[in-house]
Symmetry: C2
Subunit: 224 residues, 2 copies
């Protein structure tokens, strides 16, 4: 049994009514698979020739290097699709090993069938293009971010970007620890640098809001 109410909330089917999803899926082949908690859903390196959409439950994705040990983890829950950027392109293999956090139900659509979907329904096509593009943009953004050498620069970049042209005060939604992870630095290092920038009169921190005091000097930081 397909959970249409769930699927139509998936990024892939966004904007379609449950009936619309039903209609779209009518013409194509697909499977619904169930996995028990802990079960491996896809192994890293496996050919990615199908689109997987989580219908129920959550999974974790672990990246494993050649030596066999897992490094990083990402959690995905219904109604997210899995590794959508790896269906096409030159590297058609799952970069991660995916296993079930809970009991999981997946819809598995073979690539060829999914292509039919894309061609028959312009909304799904648009959705999918948006998914991959957004992913590429996200990664691109993150890369630009990592290209800054010092923590000061990362902070300056982050704040100025978030503040835009007029705003002076930026509200941080994440914890300092999350911010540090996003910056790719150690949490105490981030706190220290924030403290230094405060003392130097560049910014003013107060909880989760940061006020930019000296924009010119912040700009200067990035010119290097």
């Amino acid at each position: 049994m397909i959970r249409l109410e769930i699927l139509c909330q998936s990024p892939v089917f966004r904007g379609l009514s449950p009936e619309g999803v039903q209609t779209s899926l009518n013409g194509i082949h697909f499977q619904v698979k169930t996995y028990q908690k802990g079960e491996v859903i896809v192994m890293g390196g496996e050919i990615c020739d199908r689109l997987l959409i989580i219908e129920r439950g959550s999974v974790k994705a672990e990246m494993n290097d050649y030596s066999g040990k897992t490094i990083k983890i990402e959690d995905l829950a219904a109604p997210q699709p899995l590794a959508s950027a790896f269906l096409f392109g030159t590297q058609n293999r799952f970069p991660v090993t995916v296993s079930a956090n809970t009991e999981v139900e997946l819809v598995s659509v073979p690539k060829a069938e999914f292509v039919k979907l894309l061609q028959s329904n312009s909304l799904i096509l648009d959705n999918y293009l948006n998914i991959i593009s957004t992913r590429a943009q996200f990664l691109s953004q993150k890369l630009k971010f990592l290209s800054f050498r010092t923590i000061r620069q990362k902070i300056a970049h982050y704040l100025l970007e978030k503040a835009g042209d007029r705003l002076q005060t930026v509200e941080i939604r994440q914890s300092q620890a999350q911010l540090a992870e996003m910056f790719g630095v150690a949490r105490p290092s981030l706190a220290r640098t924030l403290g230094e920038m405060c003392r130097e009169g560049l910014i003013e921190t107060n909880r989760r809001s940061i006020k930019i005091l000296d924009k010119p000097r912040m700009d200067q930081l990035l010119k290097g």
Copy 2:
């Protein structure tokens, strides 16, 4: 006048004959624009609502931060498309300022028209999906790369990846300086680390070829 022989070599139209490109383009609106050397083609931040394909000449893309200074450069020549990953997605703005290196001729296809193309021709759709996916994968790979903390890890990752399962000797095509830039580290630091790894018996360097002596310990480096 459209240069069909050039366009059909573009990643977007790959696999189509010149006549096929002609046929595909017949139904849609598009423009051919010419720019003089040095002229700005798109400003960073501008809305990206059209696909641009270079028909002749080459362009350079510069990323400029808020302080107005350009940072990085990428060169693109015919028959490459421009910023193809930014036509869709949430951030529909050019991330870079593009200007003409030489006299340049571009084909400009409005987004709405391009969508028609994608829907009418499954080959173009497949090509485009491949372009964005490949880009996402490339970025993802690069990001994984930068996620390694130490230079040793970066070297180990790079060498093991390049060597694959059997090869022991890896030929480097770039200079040490280029390699360092790719790693995002200072050149002397890279040289130093290579030297250390040599002395420790992990590798053996000789000009632009590096021999992996102790694969197990190299693996171990990445687990740490």
